[in-house]
Structures are given as C-alpha cells and as structure tokens.
Symmetry: C2
Subunit: 248 residues, 2 copies
DNA sequence: AGAATAGTGTCTTTGAGACAATATCTA
DNA sequence: TAGATATTGTCTCAAAGACACTATTCT
C-alpha cells in the first residue's frame, strides 16, 4: 500500500511562506507608542519594521506571534491583550516573492513591556505622534494603520482599554488612555460618570493613590465585562453633514 | 555571482499550504441562508463544507475567494459585499497536516446568487435556522459562527445590510434583513424613522412598489454612507444584569 | 366598507455633553 | 491659605422604545 495514513493534499497545491507580524501598542511617556525592530537582514536591511517572523510547522498563529515577540525584543510576558488583526497577501508586498503574513494587534501596559536585552537587532518604542510611518519596511505602514484603527474602534465597545493599564489604575489613568488612542480631550467629569456607570467595566478596590498634589483618586481593577453597555462613544468626527432639509 | 536578483528567504522557512474559505450569506425564502458545497474528495468526502480552495502562487487572497466561489458553485458575480473574516491556523484543524485558511465573509442578494450549473459536486443554500452546523467539515462550523457574528455586529454600525438587497428595495425589505440576521422583531415605525433619518444610508428614488395589498412602499437605493451615524442599535440581549445597588 | 401595509406623530426614558459646585489632598 | 486634582450634581438636548394615528392601495 502506498496510501499514507492521513489523506494527502491535492496535486498542484503550492505552499506559501507564512509569517506573523505584531502591532504592539503601549502608552509610554504620556504618548501612544508602537514597538518596532530594526531589520538585520535583507530585504529592507536597516529599516524599522513591526516585530514578526515566519511560522514554524505545526505552530499555532498566536503562539508564533508571541514567540517572535520574545525572540526579537526580549519581552517574556504575553501581552495583556492579543487579537488577530488581518492577513495580508497582496502579491508584491514582499520582494522575496509571495509571502503572506497574519498580523496581530497587541496591547500592553508599559511596566510589563520594557525593551530589555534583545536577541535580534535594535528595537524601540516609537511614539506614534513623532514617527513617520512611511519609513517602515514592507507594507507595515498599512498594517500599523489598520491596527491603530482597530484599537480606536475597539475601545469604544469593549473593555480592552484596560489592557494598557496596570492591574490597579485610576479613572484618570483610563481616561488618558482613551485620550491618547483617540487623539482628543475628554471631559473628566462625564468620563467618570460613564465609566463608573457601565456595568462590569471597573471594579472598585477601596484603596486610593497618594498623589503629590490634589485629591487622592480611587484605584480600580478591570471588571469581568468584555463588551460595554452602553458603549463609550468616540466624539463625532467633524462630519460635513449633508443634511438636506426635506421639502414640505 | 550566485546571488539572485531578489533577496531569498531565510533558511529553515517551511512554507504552508494556504486556502481560502467563504461564508456567503443571503436571504432566501424569508430565511437567512449560507452557501454550502458537498465535498467530492477526502478528507470529509461527502460532507458539507464552506466553499473554498487553495490559493495559487502569486494570487491575491480575495481573488482566490471569488475564483473558488465561481469554480465550485457557478456564481459569476462578485458578491455585493466581501470582507476578510479571520485566519484559522490551529494545528490539527486539517487532517492533511498544517493547512492554514483565510476566511472571508460575503453578502449577496438572492437574485444574483442562484446556484446554477456548478462545476464541482453539489451545492446548496442551507437555511441557518434548520441546519445543524455540527455536520460541517473541518472547523467550518466555527468559521460560520464567526461569520454570522461578524454580520450581526457589522450591520449595526455600517450600511452593509443593503448588500442583501436588490438595487432598489423598500424600508420593509431592509427591516426584514435586520430581523433575520439579528433573529428578532423590530418595530416597523421606529425602524422607518431611524433608517430614513440616518444621513447617507438610503437614497429615495421617488418610485413605488405595486403590491397586491396594502399601500405602495417607496423604493430606495443604497446611499453613499459606509458607516452609520447614529448606529442601528441591536435590541439588548437579555442580560443577567448583575447590577448590585451600591450601598449608601 | 374592510383588510392590509406604509408612513407620521407623540410621549417617556435613557444617556451624552456642557458646566457648576464640592471634596480632599500638598505646599 | 492657595493650588491641584477627584468626584458629584444639574441642566439640556438627542435619540431610542412604546404605541396611536393617518394614508393609500387592494377586494
């Protein structure tokens, strides 16, 4: 018998090199920042890129993302939040041929995400405000833009914004996260009312900060809620509202 | 010189068989239905599965999805809506080895989506209400569930529900779409107010239906809006609200 | 007229946004 | 005390949900 135990693939199937890339966001020095690595090999040698690498045989996609993160940047902890973003397979996106990459979005608090001794070439936290993403290798500028947009919309209706925070945090900490991710100012009083009024979002600890100035703030933990009811509404983009008044 | 023109992949990279699968939804006989094909080869020969197949070298992912749809079901038209859903690469999801699949979600009106003469094995529209998804091949039950959930949430904040409709449709047609996708009843009067009041959602044509009974309904076309402001709120799931009244 | 479906109006409640006022700390 | 930040409260407006009513066709 020449038939193997497991069925084989149809003839003519050409396998594809598959990689994972990671958009890891954090808040650092009061700025939203993304983790970048400097490429040590061609193509794009010396250019900044998202951390990532090739998937190994039999390896799960999310596992590959976490492994590459650890190998390239020394980050040992699994990020507080990790989700699949999208898969990019447009021909020509990689000069080495038809390489398809699965991108992930990860969020982490700064304390758990220092860029320590790294195996690979240099890595750094790039503040998104000051960084020109046009310099990134491959199509990583587009992937980063998609990751940012995902983060911006996801903190609206889910509690993932707490993934940027330490285990215990204040309402002001969380508000700053929203402000930095959305790039706008939020009213502290309305924000406080919303966030403490949304069931399951925050868990009061009864403990307080001891700030240098000002009234101490209560410390909270993430609640069990994954989805927010009601959602945190992002301030409306200045819509060129084409509201034509209907005629009588 | 042995160096090729384009840089080569690092040593040790093992390419992966990459496929695409399609969750194509439509409304048929007043029911939400998904397109399934019967597998003609092992593994899972004779079982129902989502339409899909392997990506060809240098082929874009979305193109592969549309091509496989045409080959397997004879559907020539590009679906009214096509978006990437997620990528599934858990080891063991395919008995033939480590096969990774990129799933797409597609929506189409029934008129454009008859299952005509098909190249491959049988295909059918499976009403989601009556169909046991446990019989599907591979992890297609999970992919279908993810696609459904994506559709359910996406019609909340975007105008994609019109992708289920003919080019010209009534408010009642659109309401039936929402009811079938969400699996609930909606108040016709409030729905009408919401949907006609959301800028850019619907474009009145000034023409009317000629029904057998009842007042004629105005016909609309899809507007230019992709995102809805305000969103169509899905009726709240019956939350086991853990609203503990705070003590004074 | 009566049935059927389309579309409008009205009331109530919820929640968002603007902003005043109070509370609790440090220097 | 002044300065700073946290938290509560109040008012107004927009929009959702419930539901009565009018409009336009058919038999």
């Amino acid at each position: 018998m020449v038939q193997p135990m497991s069925p084989s693939l149809p003839d003519g199937v050409v396998p594809v090199p598959l990689s994972v890339d990671l958009v890891l966001l954090t808040v650092r020095d009061d700025q939203l920042a993304v983790l970048l690595v400097r490429r040590g090999i061609d193509p794009y040698r010396g250019r900044w890129a998202l951390p990532g690498g090739f998937v190994r045989p039999g390896e799960d996609l999310a596992d590959a993302a976490v492994r590459e993160l650890a190998e390239e940047t020394g980050l040992r902890h699994r990020p507080a939040h990790l989700e699949q973003l999208a898969t990019y397979g447009t021909p020509g996106r990689d000069p080495r041929g038809h390489v398809v990459t699965v991108a992930f979005l990860a969020l982490a608090p700064q304390s758990r995400a220092p860029v320590a001794g790294t195996d690979a070439a240099a890595s750094r936290w790039a503040p998104l405000r000051d960084t020109s993403t046009a310099e990134l290798a491959f199509d990583h500028a587009a992937i980063l833009a998609d990751g940012l947009e995902r983060a911006r919309s996801k903190i609206e209706y889910s509690a993932v914004a707490t993934a940027f925070c330490e285990p215990e945090f204040t309402v002001a900490d969380l508000r700053r996260i929203y402000e930095l991710v959305w790039g706008c100012r939020l009213d502290p009083r309305n924000f406080h009312r919303k966030v403490t009024g949304t069931a399951g979002f925050l868990l009061p600890t009864g403990r307080f900060t001891t700030p240098d100035s000002g009234r101490p703030a209560e410390l909270y933990r993430r609640g069990e809620a994954g989805v927010l009811h009601p959602a945190m509404l992002r301030p409306a983009r200045e819509h060129p509202e084409q509201k034509r008044p209907e005629q009588s």
